[in-house]
Symmetry: C2
Subunit: 135 residues, 2 copies
Amino acid sequence: METIPDLRSYGGADAYLRNCASREVLDFLSSKWVCLTIGALRPGTMRFSELRRRLDGITQKMLTQSLRDCERNGLVLRTVYPTVPPRVEYRLTDLGQSLAGLTDAIRIWSESHMSDIQVAQGEYDERAARAPEPV
Amino acid sequence: METIPDLRSYGGADAYLRNCASREVLDFLSSKWVCLTIGALRPGTMRFSELRRRLDGITQKMLTQSLRDCERNGLVLRTVYPTVPPRVEYRLTDLGQSLAGLTDAIRIWSESHMSDIQVAQGEYDERAARAPEPV
DNA sequence: CGGTATCCTTTCTGATACTG
DNA sequence: CAGTATCAGAAAGGATACCG
C-alpha cells in the first residue's frame, strides 16, 4: 500500500517551503543561463563551441558551469570522444526533454511580450518621476 | 499590410542575442522570487503580509523588491487603501496572468521531479568522488 | 501594516592566463 | 577544442533598525 501524504503538491514537495528540496530545484532553474542552455539543446546534440556561439554573450566559465550543473541535476548528458583535439557533445536527457518545453515557453513569452513590458516600464518610470513624493 | 520580419522569433525578438531586450526580460523572470511571487498571486488578490507568510523564508526587503519589479514590468498591480494602518493589495494584471501558467508549470515540474534530481545528484557526486582523476 | 534605509556578507559573473 | 584556475568587481541577498 502506498502513502499519499499531501495531494496539494507532488509527493509532498512544496516549493513555497524554504526547506523543501524542490525550492533548491526551482532556484537552480532560475539561474541566469539554464533556460537558454536547455533551449539550445532541445533540437539535438551540440558541441561546446556551438553552444558558446549560440548563447551570445556567455563566457566560457559560465557555459561550463551551467552545463556541469545541468549534468549534475540529470538534465544534460555529456559525451567525450577521446580524439585530438577532443570532441565533447552535449544533449538533453529524457528528464531534460521533459523540462525543455516549459523553459522554452518562458523564453518565447519573454520574446513575444517584450514590447508590452517596455511600455509598462516606461509608464512606471514616468509616474515615479512625476510624483516623487506627495507633498 | 503588415510586416512580418522574421518568424523564427516574435517580432524580431531573440533572447539568444545579448542585446535583445527580451534577454533582459528572461533574466528578470530568472530572479529568485519572481516565480513564487507570481504563483502566489495567481489565485487572486493578496496583501503584503499574506505574501510574506506564503513565500516561506523571504525577507521583507526581497518581497518588496520582487513586487516592485513585477509592478514595474506590468505583471502586478498594487492598490493602496489609505486606512490606518495601511492596507496594500497586490494582484496580477492580464499580462501577469498570461505568464502565471508558465511559471507555475516550472514550479510544479520542480516539485514533481525533485526526487529524480536528487538521485541524479547522488550518482554524479559519487562518480566524481570515485574517479577524481584518471592516473 | 507595509514599508525604507543602511550595512554587511555571500554569490555571481566576467576577464585573463594557462593546459592536455 | 574544451576546458581549468585565479582574481577582482558587481550584484544579489539577508539582518537590522527605524518610520508614517
